[in-house]
């Protein structure tokens, strides 16, 4: 894609996002490397989706810089978007279009001309070859999620963004999705995801940032975060099973109160 092969697939520097007087994201900085799964964890309203939206170019930050595969999201938005694949929280495709039509639409938007045989391969890969002519609105939640993921990677992007990808999936679909995400990592894609599942984040993410009240409060590998915080009284208080988990650390650091 560009000449800087060792460039992080995503670099966020000093990001601040305001909604009127509300400061949603405060001085957030992090990087995602090629072949890395990076988890952005936080309670509801912590600033995860705002951070992701700024990376996607859907909202304009107050200050800060975002580079996707080296491309500035503000000054070269189309080039930056061409290097990223996105799975949004909502399954947001036209319900009247069939699977094949949606694949062709997004192939066209990303400059990927799909032949019939390539389409069949994609559909076979996500086990939806029998649903090629089915409208998107008629698919189950798990099937829609698979379509969404395959479209996020249809152009072989260097960065894949996923906003709570496992929400609403049954255990089988969730397992299958994580396997796909790990396969993408093995192929060298950088992956930035948000999730509420601490167990899954602990098992799958290479690095994690815990964000609360718009600020990153810790950033490291899951095990390092657990090790660094296991002796904190609030983490010990949060632990229920004796063994300290990422969830205990998360609750210890962000508090046990339910967020609106």
């Amino acid at each position: 894609m560009n000449t800087l092969s060792n460039t992080p697939v995503l670099r966020v520097e000093g990001l601040n996002v305001n909604y009127g007087a509300f400061h949603a994201v405060r001085d957030v900085s992090f990087e995602v490397q090629p072949g890395e799964i990076f988890g952005l964890l936080g309670p509801n309203g912590a600033g995860k989706t705002s951070t992701l939206s700024a990376v996607e170019g859907l909202i304009r930050p107050f200050t800060g810089a975002i580079h996707v595969a080296g491309y500035d999201i503000r000054h070269q938005p189309l080039y930056a978007r061409a290097c990223m694949g996105v799975q949004l929280q909502a399954t947001s495709f036209q319900p009247e279009l069939t699977l094949v039509e949606i694949l062709r639409l997004y192939g066209g938007l990303y400059g990927v001309n799909l032949t019939d045989s390539q389409l069949n391969t994609i559909l076979r890969d996500i086990k939806l070859e029998d649903h090629a002519g089915k409208r998107y609105g008629q698919l189950s939640g798990g099937q829609q999620q698979r379509v969404s993921l395959v479209i996020a990677t249809i152009h072989d992007p260097r960065l894949v963004l996923m906003d709570e990808p496992t929400t609403g999936l049954d255990p089988q679909s969730r397992r299958q999705l994580w396997e796909r995400i790990e396969t993408m990592r093995d192929k060298g894609h950088g992956i930035l995801l948000t999730t509420h599942s601490m167990e899954e984040a602990e098992a799958v993410c290479d690095r994690i940032a815990i964000i609360d009240h718009g600020q990153i409060i810790t950033i490291d590998s899951p095990q390092a975060i657990i090790d660094d915080n296991r002796n904190r009284p609030e983490v010990i208080r949060a632990s229920r099973k004796g063994k300290i988990t990422l969830e205990d650390v998360f609750i210890g650091l962000t508090g046990a109160d339910v967020r609106a």
Partner: protein
């Protein structure tokens, strides 16, 4: 974009890199969007049919009026009613629905310029306007025996597109101002019915002089006037030219406000 405060955005100077090879040409992006939007419109063809059916029914039922008010007047009224329905009911509701489902946000994270997303939607509506106008011409000719010369048909077709732009811009303003798709639906229906009822009866002089004058300079009256004037080019007067200028003015104001207020997401 508008949900955050503006400058100073991005403190670090960008390092511009050569464009990636995968960036598709804008024409290909537009073609992909248009194909999808036309397919969606086709799948919703029953709703589209209703938009065309109502003015066609009015055209048939007004057969007895033709001798009194003239064929071009009846055709212009029916076309205006159809244009109203396309802009207010079809366009605004489809935009509100897709915005609610975050379909626009999904498209916007692809390397598609924002304007291509809206240009594709508007192209579909222009095609609808063209179909509506042709259907009205054909039904008028076949059933009501309204025959115009070729310049009348061509000019009428062009003015239908100019007039259609007013209602598309008005629909854009409604969907820009209101977020909830149900509120958009209710409001656009209300405006549609108000235009049709007050416009039709007011212009026939049934609601008094004041309403008659108000209707003349309303988006309904000016559009009807320019379409009617275009259908009989010999009868184009200074008053029709004023109506055309007012129509263009309405379009500019509604479009400006509609674009200014519009948000791509309901969140």
């Amino acid at each position: 974009m508008s949900s955050t405060t503006s400058s100073p955005a991005f403190s670090i100077a960008p390092t511009l890199l050569p464009p990636p090879r995968t960036l598709p040409p804008t024409s290909a992006v537009y073609a992909a969007l248009l194909r999808a939007d036309l397919t969606t419109q086709w799948r919703n063809r029953r709703a589209s049919l209703m938009v065309i059916l109502l003015p066609a029914i009015i055209l048939v039922s007004w057969k007895g009026l033709i001798e009194r008010v003239g064929g071009p007047f009846v055709l212009a009224n029916c076309i205006t009613i159809g244009l109203n329905a396309i802009g207010l009911m079809g366009y605004s509701n489809s935009i509100a629905r897709d915005r609610e489902k975050e379909i626009f946000q999904r498209l916007r994270v692809a390397p598609a310029p924002n304007w291509t997303i809206m240009a594709s939607r508007l192209t579909v509506q222009l095609i609808m306007i063209a179909i509506l106008t042709i259907v009205i011409f054909v039904v008028g000719y076949q059933y009501d025996h309204i025959s115009l010369n070729i310049s009348g048909y061509v000019a009428g077709f062009l003015m239908a597109i100019v007039g259609g732009a007013v209602y598309l811009a008005l629909g854009q303003m409604i969907v820009g101002r209101l977020k909830n798709p149900e509120t958009v639906n209710a409001t656009s229906r209300l405006v549609y019915i108000a235009f049709i009822m007050i416009g039709m009866f007011g212009e026939l002089g049934m609601l008094g002089d004041f309403i008659d004058k108000a209707v003349k300079y309303s988006p309904y009256g000016t559009v009807k006037s320019i379409v009617s004037g275009a259908l009989t080019p010999g009868a184009w007067t200074a008053q029709t030219t004023i109506a055309l200028l007012v129509t263009l003015g309405y379009t500019a104001v509604f479009a400006f406000l509609g674009i200014r207020w519009f948000k791509w997401s309901n969140k």
